[in-house]
Symmetry: D2
Subunit: 346 residues, 4 copies
């Protein structure tokens, strides 16, 4: 083997949770070399003060988050609040691989963007979920990639095979439990440890969470027809992880065996999607820090529904790991390069 | 005021979580006096060894759990695994108030009991959910009461008004998050702290949880027609609390205002049901240790569903508090006597 | 019994954790009636928005926190940051019972106050720890009471009997684990749920925590000589509770039996101090929401130390419950009136 | 680079927490190849049923845990309860690298073993803490290694430099907070999630924890004289992690600068020991799943003590990571091969 080819990587939003996770994973990636960290604030401070777990990068000095500062990397990861990445991305060189972990380039429908975000649409980029049929090919060689949201990652992987195979009606109900890191690192009273420990709550109820149109887009594409999505996120007392409980009315005649077969087929060759053996149900602990999705399903004949449960780590497969999986594809590396398959359990 | 009338109470299953919560609440009840604790095992030990928080009862000696030992109390609370209470109850005096926190006497349909529990039906008792229309009257003066299950309490209170008022179609989807105390105190590997902390998982998926027929029974009664219930329970990293996220397809023409009005009317006079002000969503922390249910609802016009979220403490309003609320009614005491309204938050 | 005498109570800082706990306990107190809530900010809002668990007080409107607004109550509870209570208290009527949950009036030594808080000493008030020898008498009829800090409550009750009886040398080491509510409700990044769940950390290491001089004061008084205190607080992933692990070098000749006898004697008549049976160790869960302290001790002959472990709920016996215990004494009520003895476990 | 040399590894106790962590780390090790998993029970089951996070090894069949079954590997890791490894190890080939994660071969003093474990001493093996002076050399090429206990790892690394440099008196006090995984995977009631969440407790108080003699041995060796150790472990509501708060009386004349300099010097070249920048205190979250120890110290002039706080992941650096670090040394690999430096935070 020759010396491995390497690419330099700059991460902006590196002081936040998503950006920090990108850095963590880069520490274990043999071909991607983190050479600069950036953030909206904190410029000039050592990364180690702000992200004490990132030991190998502790002495990197945080740099500003603007296009000029971010130029010169082979790969740029944008882990910024929505609305902030489009302007920066537009000024980066075309041959820089830009991975946007924010929402700005995920929706293909300008009207949907306008409705949910209230600003002008920045256009859409190839959508970074290689497990969707045909999507892997679009990511090979791409230089702009819209990394999916954490909820849409879990929900899309949970429901797409059923919709694609016509196992269910296009009318789905999703209730997802998320750890608090999904809400980011900004200090809000309802996210204090004292408030969230020992407590579960719902938020964004009634179809108002901004990840909803992304799910509708993905699932409608899988189904080949418009899909209605009832989505309720809940906040649970843990730092990381999403458990998405998804269901839809069964198409008459579909039984458990057929459902299982469709999922087994859809994910037979997917390195990061794990359809569990029958009877074993996913836990978020089993995928903590790993780039994997654990899935299981059941048919409820009384209620006439198919129920699929998916577990992901919102920061890993749900964001940073998904981003690096796409980077591997874009750069022609084996898709699994540098990505952990094993969760940190218990 | 004359000296308050008091009744003696014996609790069996007092070394478990539900029984322990009954004892805790009895410590604050002015008319009910815990005079004996019983359990299947542990007979002869001090209660304080097994339930160190029950300070005022620490020196009570645990007695056997059989009908002979349980005779002689004014009130007997059975907090036993399902299948164990019927035989004991049958031998207790008719004028003893018997509160069964187990499932044995909840289902009215013998075939449903047989299907879900695989044993002979012991018959049904008045169902201890006073908030159901007409139910309060049946509990006044009763001497046998079937205390509802924790999930059915939350789900029934969340959905009954919508079904009774015809706001939604009789086809509901429920995903409920529960703390681990709902699974009881027996040591099973998947309930170890190391397994549940930092993790969420689903169980009993596909309509197989035994609380399902109880929900079907309650909701069908409220709707006046059979209701289909898709129920998925999940286990979350906290000791106590249930958050039930419930939804159903909206009846055409129903809007948020109409929905809210129906709930406001249904619960206007209920001391323990709290429809939160608009925009405020329930947390399980706010009802920890309290006999209250916190509710909120939203209409999702895109998905065409009404979503209702309910929070209860599974051990308090969900079991032991609900039991004592019924005891108050049965004994002619004010319904709220001795029952905490305020959760232990944060 | 005639109609019970009642006193009106106003609480300032009612939107915080300590103030909220005072309100929670007042809901269960037969003689103290919460009639007004105050806070530095949030004036004009409904208390229910800010403290959703305080159901019976949800419609109280938050009023300003100044002496004029706080006049007119029989009892005023100040649950404010240190440095804010002295000025208000000075303007309240002399016959109003004022309970200061802050630090302003705890230290008797003006120089110590100056050193630790850097401001002028407001003078000291009777110290609200009735379990200290001779202290109960000073609180009877008092109209100004300095409620102890949460750490000093647990540490003083753990160590005072050993020092008073000469069981140990006056050179103690304390490591205390605290839930996050002790740090209050203000949103700081290191107190976010994402940061504290799954993590333990130390803070205020090296003798710099401001509760240290209060411990020194209490323990030196108990010992009758100056006591050196090495105090390290740690933050653990739970909302409430303190577990203080305290030790000191054994006086030669002292054995386990003598040590146990001294504690049994010291706390024989204390309603809120529970010396556990031998072999049973305190947990913070067993005192959650209760006004009790659970204690246990052991002699380590190899290390030549006596080790005492104490568990309290920092918000209940550690603050709000301690305050109401003092109010009971000051008003001539039975000391245990309205105070829960039973923790909310599990 | 030529194809990397690889060694086959068998792990017994692979269904437990320590063994599972060894497997997890092996998944990321380029030279060590897990080829067999063994356990006392569960033989014949798929590893995936018992350790669902170990995705790449899910189809390995669990084999019996006896010397015959364990022969034939280049490396054998014993992750068994104490008392079980000595007999097996004695029958393994001499040139097999055997890493014992249990206690059987840690203590050099047969009398100490007899006192603490009540059985015959199996003899001691090279002690697997390379950071101790002179120890790294003893591990190079070794074929039998006693992996340190989790508490002794953290406590020894925290205190050894101070004792070796004479900064403190040989009389130390340690209070350590541990996650529940340290207690293993066997289902005991006090380790249930319902019991440990929201609760902290002490155990093994009074010098009776079996890790105590191992600390005494290590620290006495570092000090060059007998050291007294007062050790109190506490259980906190998290799965993984140890925070050890250690202190000892300062030698007269030692100040903060001198103390810091001694630690900086002791650990200057240690890849896995991180003396944090001044003012930054360790959290267990920052080392979750990593093979690192985070350290900080402070001088308390009032109490006359040096306080050192150390954070480790009990399963990683505290057990499995420490074991593989030793394996690297024994096999002539770079010491850091395959070992994560970055914790999974938040």
């Amino acid at each position: 083997m020759r010396t491995a080819q390497t690419w330099t990587v700059g991460v902006t939003g590196a002081t936040g949770y998503a950006g920090g996770e990108v850095c963590r994973l880069l520490a274990g990636h043999p071909n991607l070399r983190l050479t600069g960290v950036h953030a909206n604030s904190s410029a000039g401070r050592r990364l180690g003060e702000l992200q004490p777990h990132l030991l190998p990068f502790a002495d990197l000095e945080v740099q500003p988050s603007d296009a000029a500062s971010l130029s010169g990397y082979d790969v740029v990861v944008l882990a910024l609040p929505h609305g902030e990445s489009a302007a920066i991305a537009a000024q980066l060189p075309e041959d820089t691989l830009v991975l946007d972990c924010g929402a700005d380039h995920r929706l293909t429908d300008a009207a949907a963007w306008q409705r949910w975000y209230g600003s002008a649409h920045a256009g859409s980029w190839p959508y970074g979920l290689p497990e969707l049929p045909g999507q892997r090919e679009k990511l090979a060689g791409a230089r702009r990639i819209a990394v999916p949201g954490c909820y849409p990652t879990s929900v899309t992987l949970a429901l797409a095979p059923a919709l694609a195979a016509g196992l269910v009606q296009p009318d789905v109900v999703v209730v997802a439990a998320s750890g608090t890191s999904g809400a980011g690192k900004s200090a809000k009273p309802h996210l204090l440890g004292s408030e969230v420990m020992g407590s579960v709550s719902a938020y964004g109820v009634g179809g108002v969470h901004r990840h909803t149109p992304e799910m509708v887009q993905n699932l409608s594409q899988a189904a080949g027809q418009p899909v209605r999505v009832s989505f309720t996120p809940t906040l649970v007392p843990m730092s990381r992880g999403i458990l998405a409980t998804c269901s839809a009315p069964l198409t008459p005649g579909v039984d458990a065996e057929a459902a299982r077969a469709a999922y087994a087929k859809a994910y037979a060759d997917e390195p990061f999607v794990q359809l569990l053996p029958e009877g074993q149900w996913p836990t978020t602990a089993q995928v903590l820090g790993a780039n994997t999705v654990a899935l299981q399903l059941a048919v409820d004949p009384d209620a006439g529904r198919l129920v699929i449960v998916a577990a992901v780590d919102n920061l890993t497969k749900g964001t940073a790991g998904g981003a690096l999986q796409c980077a591997n594809l874009a750069l022609g590396l084996p898709e699994t390069t540098g990505l952990p398959l094993v969760g940190v359990a218990p």
